[in-house]
């Protein structure tokens, strides 16, 4: 039972190795092995979730060295929530990727599946580890796989990948210096150990420097508003299967690291009241919501529009962190999940359309009659992005708004509402083209229905958007509120 935390990344790393070896022997074998590995890790993650709900957090000590000395893997409420998200979306994306990888990458597909699995292994390691340096290593495993995957695309993809590599490596390096500062003051790398040593050191200049460096570094990885410049190009020019995998997961896991540091290492009280880091994040988030949405409205390319919309949606998470109260943080964590599912679905659909040569928003005229299922899923995801009630996007915004009201922060609340209206502007523009415009003449001959291996993940994602919306009270009550309540909040 206590091995569950370590089994998930291990299973993915092993699957990466096996799919690479079998893939070099017979190229067709890489895909089934990768799906099997991701499916197995998803099953273990579900088992882990049930275990956490029944028996509480699970700890695993690598090599039998107990916590402050050895590396600890923790499966608590927040990481159980995130690991389901990472492995679930990873599984759906790998199933989805059969056709896009075949047509877009061809020969290179031998390397694509092992890299996708390594990316998932890195992300699941980030989610599960309880050690600050181990987190850096997993962060770089995930990032390096992401650079390689984006760089494998055609056209401008390598330039976008190199830009992402430079920004991402600078971010990870900043995080590493921060870890060095913390280690040189406390002499420990274990998160819970550091958390117990920190309260006496709140005024130490090294700790303040460490907080600043870590937040900037993770801000780069997470693409918080002024640090988002790598994101639109990377998401737009990546092969469609790759952007469907990276867009929902990479930035969201960076946001998870920020939340993990906030509640498990530092405390909201320290970052909010003593250093006022979280209020700054909130202000950047409020600016980012407006700026990202306006940039999204200005785009003609569908994937680029979704990429700028990602910048805006990540700003919602930053705003939730910045509110400095438990409801706002619950909203931020719920929005991590909702946005991952919605953006995963939208990028999968955008990839399916790109395979048929439909890249621009204007190309989509009249597609609602030709691709009813795909466009139906698109509509569900778009309505959820705007925040229409039964879909999940509404509920995280609801918690964020409740957090704004509790904090009495009307500026943030108005940014939230204006952001939703702007989201409505750019999605209804697409929906109007899809359902009401006459058919675009040049497209009619090229259209064909997406194959089943793409359609099924797209439909599962669309159902998940509604299902997670209906299940939101369960998720908040059993997973997110216990996670948020472990932190030390101001005024308690």
């Amino acid at each position: 039972m206590e091995q569950i935390p370590v089994l998930i990344p291990l299973c993915l790393i092993l699957a990466a190795l096996v799919s690479f070896l079998l893939g070099t022997w017979r190229r067709a074998l890489a895909y089934p092995v990768a799906s099997l590995g991701a499916g197995l890790s998803f099953a273990i993650a579900l088992w882990g979730l049930i275990t956490v709900l029944n028996n509480g957090p699970q700890h695993y000590y690598l090599g039998g060295w107990v916590a402050p000395i050895g590396i600890e893997y923790v499966l608590d409420h927040l990481s159980a929530f995130m690991i389901i998200l990472v492995t679930g979306i990873g599984l759906l994306c790998i199933i989805y990727s059969l056709r896009p990888v075949q047509t877009e990458l061809g020969e290179r597909s031998v390397f694509t599946y092992p890299l996708m699995l390594l990316l998932l292994a890195g992300l699941s390691g980030i989610v599960l580890t309880g050690d600050l340096f181990n987190l850096y290593v997993f962060l770089e495993i995930a990032s390096i796989s992401a650079y390689a995957l984006i760089g494998s695309g055609d056209g401008r993809a390598p330039v976008a990948a190199l830009r992402y590599l430079i920004m991402g490596t600078l971010g990870a390096s900043c995080y590493l210096i921060g870890v060095g500062f913390i280690y040189s003051v406390t002499g420990s790398l274990n998160m819970s150990d550091v958390a117990s040593l920190l309260p006496g050191l709140y005024q130490s200049r090294l700790i303040i420097g460490a907080v600043a460096l870590m937040v900037i570094g993770l801000g780069l990885k997470m693409a918080i508003f002024p640090l988002h410049l790598w994101l639109p190009d990377a998401y737009t020019y990546a092969p469609s299967a790759i952007s469907a995998l990276i867009a929902p997961l990479m930035t969201k896991v960076a946001a998870y690291i920020l939340i993990r540091l906030l509640i498990s290492v530092f405390s909201p009280h320290y970052l909010g009241d003593v250093l006022s880091v979280t209020p700054i994040l909130g202000i950047l988030g409020a600016i980012g919501i407006i700026a990202g949405s306006i940039m999204a409205i200005a785009q003609r390319n569908l994937k680029r529009m979704l990429a700028y919309s990602s910048v805006a949606q990540i700003s919602y998470i930053a705003l939730g962190i910045g509110l400095g109260n438990p409801i706002g943080l619950v909203g931020a964590m719920l929005h991590i999940m909702n946005h991952a599912v919605m953006k995963g679905s939208l990028f999968q659909i955008a990839g399916a359309l790109q395979l048929q040569g439909l890249v621009e928003v204007n190309d989509l005229a009249g597609m609602g009659r030709k691709l009813p299922y795909t466009m139906g899923a698109f509509t569900v995801a778009a309505l959820s992005m705007v925040g229409i009630p039964p879909a999940c996007g509404f509920f995280s915004k609801w918690y964020l708004a409740a957090g704004c009201i509790e904090a009495g922060n009307w500026v943030f609340l108005s940014a939230l509402i204006i952001g939703s209206l702007l989201t409505a502007v750019y999605f209804f523009r697409v929906l109007e083209k899809v359902y009401t415009s006459p058919d675009a003449p040049q497209v009619t001959s090229r259209y064909s229905r997406p194959c089943l291996s793409m359609l099924i993940p797209i439909l599962i994602m669309a159902i998940a958007i509604i299902g997670l919306g209906l299940a939101n009270s369960f998720i908040v009550e059993y997973l997110l509120e216990p996670a948020a309540s472990t932190a030390i909040w101001s005024g308690r």
Binding site: Y136, E140, G151, P158, V159, A161, L162, I166, S173, I177
Partner: protein
């Protein structure tokens, strides 16, 4: 001033870090950017190593002549181990960066950022 001089390794690290950042941010050649990135990362390695440096201490293997009870006689091995891992990470990053640069060069026949942007616009 005396305090600054007694911390000279950190000053050196700061200079290296600034050099690396300057390379990343202001050079137009992609190769030079990657070199700058590497200098930046190397300064972090030096930083970790210098926080564990200690005068008059020996390697962290128990010496029968010294007593094992006094930790100040032994250097701290952990930062070195961490940096071994970090070096592997940095080598992997460098490898991916160099192969992406090769791809870019094959496609645009240039490594100058301005020229690549110019060619992208013409496409």
């Amino acid at each position: 001033m005396a305090k600054l001089l007694s911390h000279w390794p950190y000053l050196l690290i700061l200079v290296l870090m600034a050099l690396g950042l300057y390379g990343v941010l202001s050079k137009h050649n992609l190769m030079k950017k990657v070199i700058g990135l590497n200098i930046f990362q190397s300064s972090i390695i030096l930083f970790f190593i210098s926080i564990s440096a200690k005068w008059g201490a020996t390697v962290p293997v128990i010496d029968p002549e010294l007593d094992a009870t006094d930790p100040s006689l032994y250097a701290n091995p952990l930062p070195h181990v961490l940096m071994l891992t970090a070096i592997v990470v940095m080598v992997a990053t460098l490898g991916v960066a160099l192969s992406i640069i090769v791809l870019i060069y094959r496609r645009y026949h240039s490594l100058d950022e301005r020229e690549i942007l110019e060619r992208m616009r013409q496409e």
